[in-house]
Structure formats: structure tokens, C-alpha cells
Amino acid sequence: MAYSDKVVDHFNNPRNVGSLPKQDPTVGTGLVGAPECGDVMKLQVRVNPETGVIDEAKFKTFGCGSAIASSSLATEWLKGKTVDEALTIKNTDIVAELSLPPVKVHCSVLAEDAIKAAIADYQQKQQGGPSS
């Protein structure tokens, strides 16, 4: 199948690959998908406690090129957004930006799930105290 130029670009030059310290109270981690389904995304955000703005985002993805591109794009979009703004990112925005075909829409859904899971993890840490 043919990939859009933007998918190819993110695949060849993925943005923000890597990991942040999971135990850090300012870091939220989302791990979604399953190996037997052929895609797993780990997405992490670090939130500046003073401003509530995401100042760092990292990902690692096991999956097809579209899954890698979706998570790479998500980390780009997350940086500089507040937590509330981050939650407004929709999978359809990712589909539109990367011109994903219908069979790849699930990759964008997974990326949205990963964002939500990372933010939820961060919020839980904030409520539950610093070292949970």
C-alpha cells in the first residue's frame, strides 16, 4: 500500500522517540494496544507543575508505519499544550493530518487512547501524592 508523504516522513524521522522516568510524579505514562494485535504504543508526557503545560513528550511504538507516525505526531502536538488542551486532540485530527486510509484509522484511535492514558496517569499521580 502507498503511504502518504507525512507518514513516510514521521516513519523515517520519528520525533521524540525515547522514555521519561516512569516514577517521576510530573510524568504520565500511557501504554495501550497488545502485541498479538500487532501494535503497542507507549506515550509519556512531562508536565511543568507551575504552568500545567506539557514540556516534554516521548513515545515508543511497536506497530506498522502508520502507528509509528500517529504516535510521533501526537508527541509533537502535545508539547506546549496544557493538560486540558491535550485532551481535545481527536483521532480524526491525526487521520486528517497524516491522510490515513480507512484500514489505518485504528492507529489514530490508539494514539488518542495513549494520550488519554498518559494524562490520566499523570492526573492520578497528582491526586494520589507525589510518590505513588
Binding site: 516513519f11 522517540v17 495501550v32 502485541p35 500487532g38 508505519g65 487512547d113 492514558a117
Partner: protein
């Protein structure tokens, strides 16, 4: 000079050998006759060419030329063999035995026959991909009319013990059909050595043209009869009506002859290339899993799972190499290869598999390039893989609770 993309998908199809094309060309133009025309030279020339090709194909598999029925390809051959035999011998029984790792042309034919009232046993395979002969023996009943087991598998290249299967079928008085599409022309395959009653062949897997195949139908000890699945002018001794594809058949004959004459030398060369590729991949990467037996295997096949890397992303990373993946991420079902599943390969490893199919026109330079490229891309993707990171941190991935979507 390397030519891109490098073609390492010779189990999907092979290029037509230039010598084959040369043999075919006159039969498109000046010798265009219908092989069934009995009244003029155009027809005679075509018939003569078809009969010469019939002998060339027969010689490749140790058959008599009269036992070769030309078809449009191996899918038709499989359909004709299975349907033709079970319809013809329905009074003797209604039970068919096949294996879970067969080609779709066999599996789906059997599934349709189940809807028509036949009973089918789909044998499991051992972890190395081979049929368990004891399980086969136990599956044969008084109602079994046909065993259909392939000679070599299209995905993992494993060679089934067809000699033992054929002997068992003969002893129990059951017909034995084998889909020999991947084996014929690549490894020694003789219909008498394996007691086959029916065998499917395809031209385009052995450097011949697409759109032509053959079915071997035994004529002696015993004479096998088939109920035709295509009716018409009664071509091919009534078993397959339809004007013969003369240029295609001529090409098939030439391709079969070349394979027969060059097999020993060619298979040794291709095996060495395949082993070189395998060694280089293993030298550059850890956590590789070869799918299927290395011992009983086509010389040109290597099917490897690259753990923690998804197959489609690997294909995208090596887009200047033409190979196939056992991952079916592009399909809506997200189902990985049923062949790998039948081996007991976990879905995660099935999603990580690549089939390398080497053939006549591949070179050592290509192998070295592909090995280097695959190693580099797998390393890069593993750096990006949360599974690789978790595995290296000692997390047991099998015990994780995954949030499936």
C-alpha cells in the same frame, strides 16, 4: 550493479527466464494455431508443441506425458484434483484429510465441500511445520477417499514427508493428492517415489509464465478418474475443457526442462545464498526465530520472526527489498498468518515475520545488501519498540495485561 527493488519474493512468483520467453514467442504470432484444429498445419504445429511441452513437464516429475492435464494454474489444478476426485468416488466415501497449513486453494476447496456434505479433517502440524504421520494414520477411516497434503509450503518452505504419506495412502487404499507447486523444479519430486495419484503444478513458480499450470493424474496402478469441473469441448482427455494456452504451455515445458537440467547446481547455489543471508542476520541481531524446519526446507526459503518488531513497519523500512510479511495489519481483521499460527507461533511473533524467497536470478551482492539493510532497520525499530525495552528490563510480556483496543 544492484537493481532496486531487490526481488526476494520468489515463492510468490518468479520472473520468466529469457530462454523460456524465447521459446514462447513464435506461438503468439506465426504459430498461433489452435491445438485442437485437426485440418491444417497451424493446428498441427500447435498440437506438436503442446505434446513436446507435455513430455517436458512429465519428465520433471517422473510421469508419463499422458498423465499431464494442462490447466490455468495451480488453483485450478487443486480444485480439479480435490473436487474431481471426491465427486467421482463419492460412493466409496465422503471423508477428506488435509492439513491446517495448506494453501488457500486447498483449504477453501475443502471448506466448500464441507458445505456440500463432505467431512474434512484438518490435521495440525508439529512445531517445525511437518505433518505428524501418526496423527495422519489415526485420521484415516473406511470412509476416507482423499488425502491432500502439499509437498512444500509456500510461506515457510517446509517439505512434507510425501513419500511416507503416499505409502500410507497406498496401503490404506486412499487417493493421495499433493500440491507440488513450490517443490517441483526446486527439489527432486517424483510422482512414483511418493505414490502420488494427483499432483498440482504451476509454471510461474519455476520461471515460466503466469496463467498456466498442470495436474498430474495417475493412469496406471491405479487409473484415477476425475469428474470434470469445467464442461465444454472435451479437451485434455475430457478432464479440462477449454482451448489450450499454447504459448503458455510451451513456456511451461521449457521452464520445466530447464529446472530438471539445472536443479542440482541451482539448488546448491541458492541454498548457499539462503544460508549466507541467515548467518548474516543472526550475526547482526539477537532474538530471531526461524519459522519451520531448517532441515526439511526449500533451498530458497527463509521465514524469520524479528521479535519486538512489527512486520509491516519492517517492510516499510526495507522498501527497496521486495519480500512478504506474515503480518496482515493491512487487512481489517488484523489476523496474522494462519500457517504460522498452526506452528504454534504466538501472534506477536507471527506479526514480526518476514518471508525471504531466493531464486535463480539472485546474487551474493544482493544477499549482502539485504542482510545489512534488515539488520540496520530492525535495530532502529527495536530502539523505537516499547516491547524490546520492556523485555530488556526483564518484563515478562506474556504475563502483561494489555489494554486491547
Amino acid at each position: 550493479m544492484l537493481k532496486f527493488p531487490i526481488y526476494f519474493d520468489n515463492q510468490a512468483t518468479t520472473p520468466v527466464d529469457p530462454r523460456v520467453l524465447e521459446a514462447m514467442l513464435p506461438y503468439f504470432t506465426e504459430r498461433f494455431g489452435n491445438a485442437a484444429s485437426r485440418n491444417h498445419r497451424y493446428g498441427w504445429e500447435a498440437e506438436e508443441a503442446v505434446e513436446a511441452a507435455r513430455k517436458q513437464v512429465a519428465d520433471l516429475i517422473g510421469a508419463n506425458p499422458k498423465e499431464i492435464v494442462f490447466t490455468s494454474g495451480a488453483t485450478e489444478s487443486d480444485n480439479l484434483a480435490i473436487r474431481g476426485a471426491v465427486y467421482m468416488y463419492r460412493e466409496k466415501g465422503d471423508h477428506i484429510i488435509t492439513a491446517l497449513t495448506e494453501h488457500k486453494a486447498v483449504i477453501d476447496t475443502c471448506k466448500r465441500l464441507e458445505k456440500e456434505g463432505f467431512r474434512v479433517t484438518y490435521l495440525p502440524v508439529k512445531p517445525d511445520g511437518l505433518v505428524d504421520l501418526d496423527a495422519l494414520r489415526d485420521a484415516i477411516t473406511a470412509k476416507t477417499v482423499l488425502i491432500t497434503i502439499m509437498a512444500a509450503n509456500n510461506e515457510i518452505g517446509v517439505l512434507q514427508p510425501v513419500a511416507e504419506i503416499g505409502a500410507m495412502a497406498k496401503e490404506r487404499g486412499v487417493l493421495f493428492h499433493t500440491d507440488a507447486v513450490q517443490a517441483a523444479g526446486k527439489v527432486p519430486f517424483d510422482v512414483n517415489a511418493c505414490n502420488a495419484h494427483l499432483a498440482s503444478l504451476s509454471a510461474h513458480k519455476m520461471y515460466g509464465p503466469k496463467g498456466v499450470g498442470a495436474l498430474y493424474v495417475r493412469r496406471r496402478q491405479p487409473r484415477v478418474l476425475l469428474s470434470p469441473i469445467i464442461d465444454g469441448g472435451g479437451h485434455e482427455r475430457g478432464m479440462r475443457s477449454g482451448t489450450l494456452n499454447v504459448p503458455g504451455i510451451v513456456g511451461f515445458g521449457k521452464a520445466a526442462e530447464l529446472c530438471r537440467l539445472e536443479m542440482a547446481q541451482e539448488s546448491a547455489r541458492i541454498r548457499a545464498l539462503r544460508d549466507r543471508l541467515n548467518a548474516k542476520l543472526h550475526a547482526g541481531l539477537d532474538e530471531l526465530h526461524v519459522n519451520g524446519s531448517m532441515e526439511h526446507r526449500l533451498p530458497g526459503n527463509l521465514n524469520i520472526s524479528f521479535a519486538y518488531v512489527e512486520g509491516e513497519s519492517l517492510l516499510m523500512g526495507i522498501n527497496d527489498v521486495a519480500v512478504s510479511s506474515g503480518s496482515a495489519c493491512t487487512s481489517a481483521s488484523l489476523e496474522p498468518s494462519y500457517v504460522l499460527k498452526a506452528l504454534g507461533t504466538g501472534d506477536d511473533l507471527a506479526h514480526s515475520s518476514i518471508r525471504f524467497g531466493l531464486g535463480r536470478f539472485n546474487t551474493e551482492e544482493e544477499v549482502d545488501y539485504v542482510a545489512g539493510k534488515v539488520v540496520a532497520v530492525v535495530r532502529k525499530l527495536r530502539e523505537m519498540s516499547p516491547l524490546y525495552e520492556m523485555a530488556k528490563d526483564g518484563v515478562d510480556l506474556a504475563k502483561m495485561e494489555w489494554r486491547e483496543h
